[in-house]
């Protein structure tokens, strides 16, 4: 079933008008990461601090002494986005400031791969941060190398067409869900109202929240700049990138029932899939079906389960403490 894309006329969107991202950034034309940040900051508002590890946004923001965001930003080492956000949060807590949102904004390499350990640590501690992974499915900033977010069958410079990526994309959302954090959600630049609602929800939660944002990348996906939003929308409508959210690792909600458009419509718009054979596409279809069966089963499971019991905080009573070991 083909999707009528005209129904998504941007003039019908209801978005916050205030812009925190300025126009003088260094993103490529058609960059989904630029649009993503613009929307994220519309949602979070000016009382926000942003942490950015090595990723496209380390460059997009502008070079010294310029920057494109009207909020404080800390650029950090590649693998440290989550702990850096935790560190900023700890400093704010030490200063008695609880009115500021701290957002880590990292790419898929910095999240799925090199930043995985620090992210797991931060969400296990349930640190009060919003972690957004903007996912363009490869190391685009370094010139399109495979990451563990690269989908099955895709070309990258390290998975050439003779041996395209043989493994499925790592399921980062489910890994976050298993940390039992208060809120995990997927989002897409093609569904800005949904994305903004999720960012606002994350902002309202005191604890670790994870947003997995799918973005297009004309340079890395080998697609037309003008098709960025269309491709992002097709990622959702084909079912390849489901829009859903999970509370406390239990309650699953599918936010948008896809049209299950033929995946060829999505694949054909991107040069990174041009080499695929019918067999490849058939494997993708079967995998997609299995993924949806699994997701729907989890929705069902969540309906039957109560939310996990909240942790009990130890009462502070000096008299009952054990003496410090020495």
């Amino acid at each position: 079933m083909a999707v009528d894309l005209t129904m998504y006329d941007p003039r019908n969107l209801h978005l916050p008008e205030h812009e925190i991202m300025r126009s003088g950034h260094m993103a490529c034309p058609g960059c989904g990461a630029a649009l993503g940040m613009r929307l994220a900051l519309k949602a979070l508002g000016p009382d926000t601090m942003v942490v950015i590890p090595a990723c496209c946004w380390a460059v997009i923001i502008g070079s010294y002494p310029y920057q494109a965001l009207e909020v404080p930003v800390l650029q950090v080492a590649f693998e440290t986005a989550a702990i850096s956000a935790s560190g900023v949060r700890a400093a704010l807590a030490a200063k008695g400031r609880d009115d500021i949102t701290v957002m880590a904004w990292a790419g898929d390499g910095g999240t799925f791969d090199i930043g995985f350990q620090s992210l797991s640590g931060a969400v296990e501690r349930n640190d009060d941060i919003i972690y957004v992974c903007y996912d363009n499915e490869a190391y685009m900033n370094t010139g399109i190398q495979r990451s563990s977010a690269t989908p099955y069958g895709a070309w990258t410079t390290t998975t050439p067409v003779e041996t395209p990526k043989a493994e499925p994309k790592k399921n980062m959302v489910e890994i976050m869900v298993e940390h039992r954090i208060p809120y995990t959600a997927t989002a897409s630049i093609a569904y800005p109202e949904d994305f903004i609602r999720k960012m606002k929800k994350a902002r309202s939660i005191r604890g670790a929240t994870f947003i997995h944002l799918w973005i297009s990348c004309p340079a890395g996906h080998k697609s037309e700049e003008r098709s960025s939003v269309k491709i992002a929308r097709l990622a959702v409508e084909t079912g390849i990138f489901p829009l859903y959210e999970v509370e406390y690792g239990t309650r699953y909600t599918i936010n948008h029932e896809p049209a299950f458009t033929d995946i060829r419509e999505y694949l054909e718009l991107q040069g990174r899939f041009r080499h695929l054979t019918d067999e490849h596409v058939e494997t993708m279809r079967r995998n997609l079906e299995w993924e949806w069966q699994r997701l729907r089963a989890k929705v069902e499971m969540g309906r039957k389960l109560p939310l996990p019991p909240a942790p009990v905080k130890a009462p502070v009573d000096e008299g009952e403490r054990e003496p410090a070991a020495e």
């Binding site: 460059v59 920057q67 909020v71 080492a77």
Partner: protein, 400 residues
């Protein structure tokens, strides 16, 4: 107030006195009792701080970097493998001009596994832009940690306060713990000029093109130059407040000394009675203890060592392929002396992997150098004899 503290306990006391606001740390032997003690302080409320119990040393320092960037006074502690894992961020902390204080309990690097002391872990971080202070007693640890915050926050460079594994970290000593009121006067709250600030939103750490990068690095080097004077000033001020003044180096019986032992950390305390004994036997021996190693007090060392006859430099470390590291540094500092004032240098590498350096060892080194029995520029002390150097060099077993 007098307390009996081991070196690690002294670190924790000092962190409490300095009112660190964010601690981000990961356990490693023999550093663990530092962070256990601090966790207990935070839990009981005797230290009002946020303690991020991270999943690695890499994150430990990353947490401090972010918290410091947001304006908080920060602390972490580690050893050996942990410090090596931090290496990327060691550079980052200095480049970010963040006044973080890190206590490193000197431990030998693996393989084979060793939990015992030597200095290769901290000295491998020599070129990162951090300041380094080597301590010889629990008292000096308490005093140096507090001073480190003051100097770091003045010159905007991080400091490593270094203590030997077990010989200092786990040895109990009588320590005068300063009063909180006095420390509060000495160390005002941190006001980092380039912090993340809602009133002045800026991006810290953006891409810098070649036309600007060098200037940032020159400033770091200039800050080290300024720091030499600040360490001296702060050490004097501390002396006025506590009766315990500190300098960049410590001299012991250097009047008329023609044979000088140069070393750092706890070995210096072992050396003092050896120097006394040599003096009694008529040997004009003296001791120069290195305390502040970065910034390197080259001028001071030149002034002290110029014109002496023989200098024995004891390194509990080695830059494989070229000397002990203190030896290299001192040799380069002395190059500027006029030819006639240059002492003969003997580098001794000893005590790696926690091997004890006894008074007898030190006596043997000094006596050997003085009597001419030691002639080599570099000697590996107290190692099994090697029969065939070529064969030994390519054999992965001891001796050979």
């Amino acid at each position: 107030m007098r307390k009996v503290l081991k070196g690690n306990g002294a670190v924790a006391e000092a962190v409490r006195l300095a009112r660190a606001e964010v601690i981000s740390a990961y356990p490693i032997t023999p550093q663990t009792s530092i962070i256990e003690e601090i966790a207990s302080m935070v839990s009981r409320g005797s230290l009002e701080a946020q303690f991020i119990k991270v999943e690695s040393e890499h994150s430990a320092l990353a947490g401090c970097i972010a918290a410091a960037s947001a304006g908080a006074r920060t602390f972490t502690a580690t050893s050996a493998q942990g410090l090596a894992l931090m290496h990327e961020l060691i550079h980052w902390a200095a480049g970010g001009r963040l006044p973080i204080v890190l206590a490193d309990v000197n431990r030998a690097m693996a393989p084979g596994w060793s939990i015992w002391t030597d200095q290769n872990d901290t000295l491998s971080q020599r070129d990162t832009g951090w300041m380094q202070v080597y301590c010889q007693s629990s008292q000096e640890v308490v005093d140096s940690v507090v001073q480190a915050y003051k100097v770091s926050e003045r010159v905007l460079l991080p400091t490593m306060v270094v203590l030997d594994a077990f010989f200092l970290s786990h040895t109990y000593e009588d320590v005068e713990v300063p009063e909180q009121v006095m420390v509060d006067r000495f160390l005002p709250p941190l006001e980092l000029p380039h912090r993340m600030d809602m009133e002045r939103p800026a991006a810290l750490g953006n891409l810098v093109f070649p036309d600007r990068y060098m200037e940032f690095r020159e400033k770091m080097d200039l800050a080290h130059g300024v720091a030499l004077g600040v360490w001296e000033e702060v050490g004097r001020e501390w002396g006025e407040l506590t009766g315990r003044p500190y300098g960049l180096v410590e001299e012991y019986r250097m009047d008329g000394a023609e044979l000088v032992l140069v070393t750092a950390a706890t070995t210096a305390s072992t050396a003092r009675p050896v120097i006394d004994a040599l003096r009694e036997a008529g040997v004009p021996a003296g001791l120069l203890r290195l305390r502040v190693f970065r910034p390197f007090p080259a001028e001071r060392i030149r002034a002290i060592l110029g014109g002496r006859k023989k200098v024995v430099i004891l390194d509990r470390n080695c830059s494989f392929g070229h000397h002990g590291i203190f030896h290299q540094e001192i040799k380069s500092a002395l190059y500027e002396l006029p030819h006639g004032e240059q002492p003969v240098l003997h580098g001794i590498i000893a005590g790696l992997g926690g091997r004890d350096i006894t008074p007898d060892d030190l006596h043997g080194m000094l006596d050997g150098a003085w009597s001419g029995k030691i002639t080599a520029p570099v000697t590996w002390w107290d190692v099994l004899p090697v029969k065939d150097r070529e064969r030994a060099a390519v054999t992965m077993v001891e001796g050979g």
